[in-house]
């Protein structure tokens, strides 16, 4: 019996260690444009075929210079000819956005996950209030496209800082027209606009928020004060804030009976990897949900942005890339 040689990887700009993951796509960079600190990429298939359709609000995970980062898809969502992402340069981040800004060029190939939906529209809603802050406009762009295509009622409140360029503004104005887009600059103006608009939405409206953590929390607080139940509030978090190193704890593996120490400053995922206990993972910062592990005993200290409140209080699973333990010993179903 002869065994066919493994297919060599398409000439990849990625580090040799970056093997193609199962089900992932290899896409070619067909266009880049940079405006201020934001670089927008157009990614196309190598064959010229259309790409998988996605639910508005979806993101892809991109291998960027050996890192994996999640970016919202901003373009057409039905049989798109290209995926479009906008990447904010984070000077002190993990390096993925710097690599996309400094080292990536037209013609190069990128390994990306299929689209994943964690921030969908609400089909039954009578009105969508879309609130974006800064680069958080990216998933909102595909929501606006969907609302236009399906003739859904919507409005956009876009918060931005005094000193920064407003990402994708021209396109946003063209998509929204004159009556559906409100820009708000600086915290006081944003708060005033939100207080006014969230007090006068028809019953049956939903609120979708994407932006920096403090801006999202402020928006949720205002909505709650105005009587919005949490069922009407949907959020897409992206986090660049560093987590504190945490306290050391011991992890017990139920299947093998092994015990590992997770020191301060080392994540549970890293400790498991060092002990050669593989756990599927992607974003490594508590966003994507890939590295969820079942907890058998002990109380997890949840630090992820993925689990719902109910899942958190159930204490029967945790995201091992960021979460740790309240108790000295945590027992996992591994």
């Amino acid at each position: 019996m002869t065994v066919a040689p493994a297919q060599p990887l398409a000439s990849s700009p990625l580090a040799p260690s970056a093997a193609v993951r199962e089900g992932w796509l290899i896409l070619r960079v067909a266009g880049v444009s940079t405006a201020g600190r934001v670089r927008t990429l157009r990614l196309v298939s190598l064959t010229g075929d259309t790409l998988p359709s996605f639910t508005p609000g979806s993101h892809i995970v991109v291998e960027a210079g050996g890192r994996t980062n999640a970016y919202s898809l901003t373009g057409d969502f039905l049989e798109p000819i290209a995926y479009e992402i906008s990447v904010l340069r984070i000077p002190d981040g993990n390096g993925g956005s710097r690599w996309i800004h400094d080292d990536l060029d037209v013609g190069q190939e990128l390994s990306v996950s299929p689209p994943r939906s964690a921030f969908p529209p609400v089909a039954s809603a009578q009105h969508h209030v879309l609130v974006a802050g800064g680069i958080g406009i990216t998933p909102i762009l595909s929501h606006i496209r969907a609302a236009r295509l399906y003739h859904r009622s919507f409005e956009v409140i876009y918060a931005h800082r005094h000193d920064a360029e407003v990402p994708r503004l021209r396109e946003l104005r063209a998509l929204c027209g004159p009556d559906r887009l409100e820009l708000a600059q600086g915290r006081a103006q944003v708060t005033a606009r939100l207080r006014k608009r969230l007090a006068e939405q028809p019953l049956g409206s939903v609120l979708l928020i994407c932006g920096p953590g403090p801006m999202m929390e402020a928006t949720e607080t205002i909505a709650t004060e105005l009587g919005w139940p949490s069922q009407r509030i949907h959020t897409e978090r992206f986090s660049t804030e560093a987590l504190d190193p945490g306290s050391p704890f011991t992890v017990k593996l139920a299947r093998s009976g092994r015990q590992l120490l997770v020191p301060s400053g080392v994540s549970l995922l890293e400790a498991l990897e060092a002990a050669e206990v593989p756990v599927p993972n992607l974003c490594r910062r508590g966003v994507c949900g890939e590295c969820r592990v079942a907890v058998k005993a002990g109380r997890p200290e949840h630090r992820d942005l993925f689990l719902s409140d109910e899942e958190r209080t159930a204490n029967d699973s945790l995201m091992c890339c960021v979460s740790r333990a309240h108790d000295a010993v945590l027992e996992l179903e591994l």
Partner: protein
Amino acid sequence: MTVSPDHTSVPRWPDEPPDVDPTGSSYLVVSTGEAGRAVASRWTAAIASLAKPLWAHHDSGESPLALDGLSRELAAARVGTRVMVAAPERDVLDVLRLARAAGAVDAELRAHVTPASDLRVYCPHCRTDTHARLSVGDTVACEGCHRTLIVYHHVSRLHGAYLGYMVDAEEPTT
């Protein structure tokens, strides 16, 4: 019928009236009958002490609940509104049906069912509703097509009615 009530869509109402949700920004309160009035007046007192806007409607319960006022209020309602109803089941289902059709979600609805009322039974053969003092498992002649309907343990939240279906379809007609 031997189906566990846990596995049906027949509503299971709590015994005690729910409290007013203080996180609302305004309230619509509907009641029918004397038992409903007693519960609703406790609610309206609690809402008054919150100093929040209130619209309230009460019917004697002798004739069908008048819903046009509530419909107008719901059409103009903003997010933040809470809807509360204390009445026999048929009126409760009606109010919840209207509120949901206007876009309300479960967190915005509070209901208390007072004893004894007609059931509304929906006939899927002729699409007529029949109202009568009935329980699940009883039979009734449809007011529209005169078929004999059995009241089934299925309640439509959108229609506010129990499903009835022709129970003797396979009996030879005499």
